[in-house]
Assembly symmetry: C2
Homo-oligomer: 236 residues x 2
DNA sequence: CGGCACTTTGAGAGTGGTCAAACGTCGTGG
DNA sequence: CCACGACGTTTGACCACTCTCAAAGTGCCG
């Protein structure tokens, strides 16, 4: 059991916190764990006693669809309260998997219950966090109707760029990309081959550089315009 | 200003409410309004002072993508607290449109604030409602990766069947369907022609009857198996 | 050097889009 | 009562997007 400043940093991004509230968050006991690429952080089924906060690395939500097939419905970056659901729902309908090595902090349901009972303002901020997740989901749904091929790939890269930038993980428009092309295909509902062609096209247009785990957007505003990306929905 | 039992009915579906809580919900003042097909219930932009509950009919979330193009990211049925977002977010990134004639009840932000300050249990239930919306969104994203053609159409029809059944709007496996084929195409990210072919196939397999505004699933479990529909995610 | 994982390319096939036209139903007006 | 137009549905033809299978290229690591 250690304490963490991650949650405080995450919530204070969207509203001013009182001194009391900051103290509550800072003294929240967390259990820190690390996972390697592909590891299952939380698995489908009855929820465990605790919610997880992503501190380092990336994670994804994987729905089982066949005996061995999985489809991805969401991606998470550091600072995301990945599994606040566990606190209110008694059953998870998908797995949460590590994408690349990542660090997680677990917070017990008891402590969360305590917060929602005693601190309406913090409750509001936690709730807000889940509402923003839902906004992102809706944009993903909308994007799949509106965009295809290179534009769909570009839109996701713009989103990742913006979300990672908000937590200081972007430098000179580049960021670490733990997802390979096969993974990206699963996230977008495409085949590897198709994603590869989309990347080739974006590269040819000078809108993307991607080299072994590192992505750079040479012209972020140009790409954003090209794929109609408007970061407003991320509430950063 | 009138009172309503809609919200009480909706929230009590998922947990037991205390007498006090029931009273609070029952005495909540609401403003009731009706809309005709296609009308804009809430429009993109700064949020108004109040959240809306869908009482009768259906509604959809429409994201503007071009000057005249819209894509749909969600559908709502009676009992859904369509716009709880307005309470926590200060900006809506899409329109909410009436699908067929529908009835809405508006609840002011002041009253919601009061509830979240004084009734942690009700707050938890409202929050839970938005979490279930998010679950549905994730299943929509996953479905678009996993299913195509007739199965994708069938999956949505199964979902509507289940959600409408939960609020007593299904009889002998049939329900009123205010969405036409063009609308369904927009919801699924397909063209009208393609949706029409999918419907033709489902009909030929004896899995769907659809006649001018009325849909019936002659074999709901057969269709569910065929499209891998598992209603668990709806938390009904 | 050899294996392994990821990326890249090509060819053939299926899925799904666009355009265009015909059909059916229904409400309106003559 | 019928003609008409509006609207949704259905069909066909043709083309673009995307998939699968297959194979070759590239970099990393034992």
């Amino acid at each position: 059991m250690a304490n963490s400043r991650r949650l405080e940093a995450s919530l204070s991004r969207r509203a001013d916190l009182s001194a009391t509230e900051r103290t509550v968050l800072r003294e929240l006991p967390v259990t820190r764990t690390t996972y390697s690429d592909g590891a299952c952080i939380v698995s489908e089924g009855p929820t465990q006693n605790g919610s997880c906060l992503l501190v380092e690395g990336m994670a994804m939500r994987a729905h089982r669809v066949g005996p061995s097939d999985r489809v991805i419905s969401a991606l998470h970056v550091p600072g995301d309260f990945v599994d606040l659901h566990a606190f209110l729902l008694d059953h998870l309908d998908h797995d949460i998997l590590a994408v690349g090595p990542c660090t997680i902090e677990f917070i017990s349901s008891e402590h969360l219950t305590q917060i929602t009972r005693d601190h309406p303002n913090l409750t509001r901020l936690l709730w807000l966090d889940t509402l923003i997740d839902a906004k992102i989901h809706r944009v993903w749904v909308a994007t799949r109707s509106a965009l295809r091929g290179p534009q769909r790939v570009g839109h996701l890269l713009c989103e990742l760029h913006a979300r990672l930038d908000a937590v200081g993980l972007v430098s000179s428009n580049g960021f670490a990309m733990p997802i390979d092309q096969r993974g990206l295909a699963k996230v977008l509902g495409y085949s590897v081959v198709h994603v590869n062609h989309a990347i080739r096209d974006l590269r040819a247009d000078g809108l993307l550089e991607w080299d072994r785990g590192h992505v750079r957007l040479p012209d972020p505003t140009g790409l954003a315009r090209h794929v109609r990306f408007d970061p407003a929905y991320l509430e950063l």
